[in-house]
């Protein structure tokens, strides 16, 4: 990200400092700067974006190194921060497929009629069951979407704002009616496997949908709680089309770039290349940060974009915190389970299972044909191995986005589930294991795409260990903490601290560890900024997000 300059001072005093230039840090920073605060963002890497980043690691190919598709990004934030004017463009993709070992495929068409015919081809009964399934999911989406940009209430507090917010929650819940209330409670706690089994009979169809329930999660398709993870992947939208996903022009770094431009236009500064070593505190109040390179920046408001574990266990003196709080933070589930391959391709790969020139290739492609296969993939993870038959979410955005590589060449992103953070027997990821993991995935792709290996020009392999080291996501957990019911709403990240504040006065959390969780959503960042400004008694810009402080 060459555009990001910021002044590289040795010391300075700011109204607010944001630690980490992930997309949530940039979002929080942009709201604070727009509200008139002198704001600094410090980022340990030489580039910004965290897990929403585009980098050219091989000449002529730009990768979306971590996140690769966009849907969750809150439209209110895009509007408040004028991300459109700052270059953000998200193009919905249509299509997707699961390859079967018998040479057939299951195609996911955005076009209703074609999709219906396709489901019918696999199972006539599932074709209408799909309509009922979609409606069920949409009902859940209707419940949850309005909660994303609201600060969760503290359920034990008697403050009017908390009571009011609690009433809001209860009222929405009550409005569902008896049957749906029951459905919702089941849904938020059940497994994605059981959930899909209730609707469908086709194995491949279930496997195709189940992927969203396990992505980024240390759980299997039959583990309770995974149905919610599926919802988490459905509740976004592209221009109002709920559940749709799109490519960001220029890769996912395009989101961070637009946010950084909004931040800098409002007068914000970004310093990259050295992370913070620790937060400075005085009498339980934060007073600034000390970087690894020794630079010191002072502010009585510091907002951490790092995950809750990293923030409190690695950068705050243990003595500053109560034992119970530390225990709760340590208990926060943040297990790594995913890896990723970013591949530069000499030409478009061939998938003989698909119809020629199929639009299905423009979407997410998979090769796990049953829930059983997915559950077995999880079994490997539990014993410290990467899946022998991994689930992957594979896309070729260069079919739509001309900015990623030269015409005729292609960029492929392959998200892989499961890969453990710690390998069995203490083997290091930073050795032959990394390549062996990549080979497992490539071999599976090549089973469905003859000649695939020969097309590979360059490849970036990312294990949970790499993700932790580069992005700072503890254990490589992509969501800064798992998205299970026990870690959502007023329990996220830990009970009593779901309102972006922390035991240390002036120190806030704005990353995905906070409500409403991970994904390139910008909601935690926007919500945190609102709380910061509310504590300062300051007015904020925008009408989408601001004005609902807890």
């Amino acid at each position: 990200m060459t555009e990001v300059s910021g002044k590289n001072g040795k010391a300075g005093r700011y109204d607010a400092i944001v630690v980490g230039a992930g997309h949530n840090g940039l979002t929080a920073g942009a709201y604070l700067a727009k509200a008139g605060l002198k704001t600094l963002i410090v980022e340990k890497n030489d580039y910004i974006g965290g897990a929403a980043v585009s980098r050219e690691l091989h000449e002529g190919w730009t990768y979306s190194n971590c996140s690769y598709v966009c849907s969750l990004l809150r439209p209110e934030v895009a509007r408040d921060l004028e991300l459109g004017r700052h270059g953000l463009q998200v193009i919905p993709y249509e299509g997707g497929a699961t390859f079967l070992n018998n040479g057939d495929h299951f195609g996911s068409y955005a076009e209703h009629n074609a999709f219906r015919r396709e489901i019918q081809r696999h199972s006539p009964i599932d074709a209408d069951a799909y309509d009922r399934y979609s409606r069920y999911i949409m009902r859940q989406c209707r419940f949850i979407r309005p909660l994303l940009l609201r600060t969760p209430p503290d359920p034990v507090s008697m403050r009017p704002k908390d009571l009011q917010e609690m009433m809001f929650l209860l009222k929405r819940f009550h409005d569902l009616g008896a049957r749906e209330m029951a459905d919702m409670l089941r849904f938020w706690t059940m497994s994605v496997g059981e959930f899909l089994d209730e609707f469908f009979e086709s194995e491949v169809l279930k496997a195709h949908f189940a992927g969203s329930g396990i992505i980024g999660t240390g759980l299997g398709v039959y583990s309770p709680g995974t149905a919610y993870v599926l919802l988490h992947h459905y509740m976004g939208d592209v221009d109002g089309s709920i559940g749709a996903w799109g490519f960001t022009r220029g890769g996912m770094g395009g989101v961070s770039k637009a946010l950084s431009l909004a931040f800098m236009e409002a007068g914000g500064e970004i310093v990259t290349g050295s992370g913070i070593n620790h937060f400075l505190t005085e009498n339980g109040q934060v007073s600034g940060v000390v970087l690894d390179n020794g630079d010191v920046y002072e502010a009585s408001t510091v907002v951490s974009n790092m995950d809750v574990r990293r923030t409190f266990l690695e950068h705050v003196e243990e003595g500053e915190l109560d034992g119970d709080f530390i225990k709760a933070v340590k208990r926060f589930k943040i297990r790594g389970s995913s890896g990723k391959l970013n591949i530069a391709l000499d030409s478009l790969p061939d998938f003989p299972a698909l119809p020629p020139n199929s639009i299905l290739m423009q979407g997410d492609m998979h090769a796990s044909e049953s829930l059983d296969e997915l559950e077995r993939a999880y079994d490997d993870w539990k014993v410290g191995k990467w899946s022998e038959e991994p689930y992957f979410d594979m896309l070729i955005p260069s079919q739509i986005d001309p900015t990623l590589t030269h015409p005729g060449k292609h960029m492929m992103t392959v998200f892989v589930q499961y890969a453990p953070y710690e390998l069995a027997g203490g083997e290091s990821w930073n050795g032959p294991a990394r390549q062996a993991f990549a080979d497992t995935v490539i071999n599976k792709i090549a089973r469905h795409s003859p000649g695939f290996r020969d097309k590979i020009v360059h490849m970036e392999v990312r294990t949970p260990w790499d993700i932790e080291n580069e992005v700072g996501l503890t254990e490589g957990n992509i969501f800064q903490g798992e998205l299970t019911f026990d870690q959502l709403l007023f329990n996220r990240p830990v009970p009593g601290y779901a309102q972006y504040r922390s035991p240390i006065k002036g120190l806030y959390l704005c990353g995905s560890s906070a409500h409403p969780g991970g994904g390139v959503m910008a909601a935690p960042g926007a919500n945190a900024a609102r709380e910061v400004l509310s504590d300062m008694g300051r007015a904020a810009v925008g009408n989408g997000v601001m004005g609902r402080a807890a």
Partner: protein, 399 residues
């Protein structure tokens, strides 16, 4: 229980599919004006909506109803399953009769409407707009029936209009003269005729296996030319449907299977379908809820409106005394046959139930680029706006 067809490899067709009559329809569709009906290319209109509308009310017309969903429910428990499904009592139907019916979910909200064809007590066909295959299988769970989705195997033509009987006679359908409304008769070449339709006029529906569809079309048109037979599109049929007082799911009410908001479901009583609910026949889906709903009374009421002026009240809000919002118009039309400005409206209780006077609709008029808003008085009337004796006359008149 369900018949699963062997999947064809290499995927499916995208876009809209032709119906078995498409090769005949396409050259007659002067503006190539098509719409999506259940994934099929369905004509909006062929020449002009007016000429097609008047053909329905004066001569004979065909509308390609092949995209309708058709399910066959057959087996020893077929009657029991049908009675579990629909609110009417199919045990009271004679063989080879059709009944219009609705079916509900367990909250007593209407899922869809359609026609029940009773061939025998062990062999039924359900004809409807929305896919119901998985719902039928749910309802039939544990019963000895086979459910087959015939939607893609059976083509249909709706032959409607005052000379439709003459066309059938001329085409050699002997015995149609004795067919009463809702009768079914089987003819050669696999053609099944039912005296049914969506226009409120004299008319028939002809059902035929796909491979016999072309022959049927050619045969009908050869015989029908001198009786003014012509194809019509959705727009003209839609006008006659409103005149006939027939509700369209998705427009006049929301199927409870589609509504996202739990408050959008409507009971049969709220749609004026109370006469179709038979509590005496034993248990059926929604019975308990409907007994309760009957007691508490309707929360809404669909009514027919006769509105002052001649501007159709599309999507208009309905007000009581011009101030309090009472509901909204769901379908509207200036009726060229009734010479009245008509509409259906969904009113919220007590409007349409206890309070039926002093209703107004808000109508917007585009006066050459300048919009004007006006309130037009609306009176609640029987929604069967068009009701001519020729619809039911047996034998029908030979024009």
């Amino acid at each position: 229980m369900s018949v699963i067809k062997k999947p064809a490899m290499k995927g499916v067709q995208r876009g809209l599919s032709p119906t078995p009559f498409h090769d005949f329809l396409a050259p007659m569709n002067l503006e190539q004006s098509w719409m999506d009906w259940a994934g099929f290319l369905s004509p909006r209109h062929f020449e002009s909506i007016e000429s097609e509308y008047f053909a329905i009310r004066n001569q004979a017309t065909v509308f390609d109803v092949s995209p309708m969903r058709k399910y066959r429910i057959a087996g020893p428990d077929a009657l029991t399953v049908m009675n579990r499904l629909v609110t009417r009592n199919v045990a009271k139907m004679r063989d080879n009769r059709v009944a219009y019916s609705i079916w509900c979910d367990e909250d007593g909200n209407v899922i869809d409407d359609g026609t029940v064809f009773r061939f025998t007590a062990t062999d039924f066909r359900l004809c409807c707009q929305e896919p119901q295959f998985s719902w039928l299988n749910d309802v039939a769970w544990g019963f000895d029936v086979e459910i087959v989705d015939e939607s893609l195997d059976v083509a249909g033509l709706s032959l409607q209009g005052p000379t439709s009987y003459a066309v059938l006679k001329a085409a050699g359908f002997n015995g149609v003269e004795t067919m009463k409304p809702f009768d079914i008769r089987h003819f050669d070449d696999g053609v099944t005729v039912s005296r049914t339709g969506f226009t409120g006029d004299l008319g028939y529906e002809l059902w035929v296996p796909n491979d016999k569809a072309a022959a049927l079309w050619q045969h009908l048109f050869a015989a029908g030319r001198i009786h003014g037979l012509k194809p019509v599109g959705y727009e003209a049929v839609e006008m006659t449907r409103i005149e006939a007082g027939l509700l369209l799911p998705g427009k006049d009410f929301q199927s409870s299977h589609h509504a996202l908001r739990s408050t959008r479901g409507r009971t049969p009583f709220e749609l004026g379908f109370g006469w179709m609910v038979d509590f005496g026949k034993g248990h059926f889906n929604g019975r308990r809820a409907l007994l309760k709903a009957k007691e508490t009374g309707p929360r809404y009421m669909v009514v027919g409106l006769d509105i002052d002026g001649n501007k159709p009240a599309y999507d208009a809000l309905v007000y009581h005394r011009g101030k309090v919002e009472a509901g909204h118009v769901t379908s509207a039309l200036w009726s060229p046959t009734c010479k009245r400005n008509l509409a259906f409206a969904m009113l919220k209780a007590p409007y349409g139930i206890g309070v039926t006077d002093d209703l107004f609709v808000e109508i917007y008029r585009d006066k050459e680029g300048k919009w004007e808003k006006g309130l037009a008085r609306a009176r609640i009337v029987n929604r069967r706006f068009f009701d001519y004796p020729r619809r039911a006359a047996t034998p029908p008149a030979l024009y």
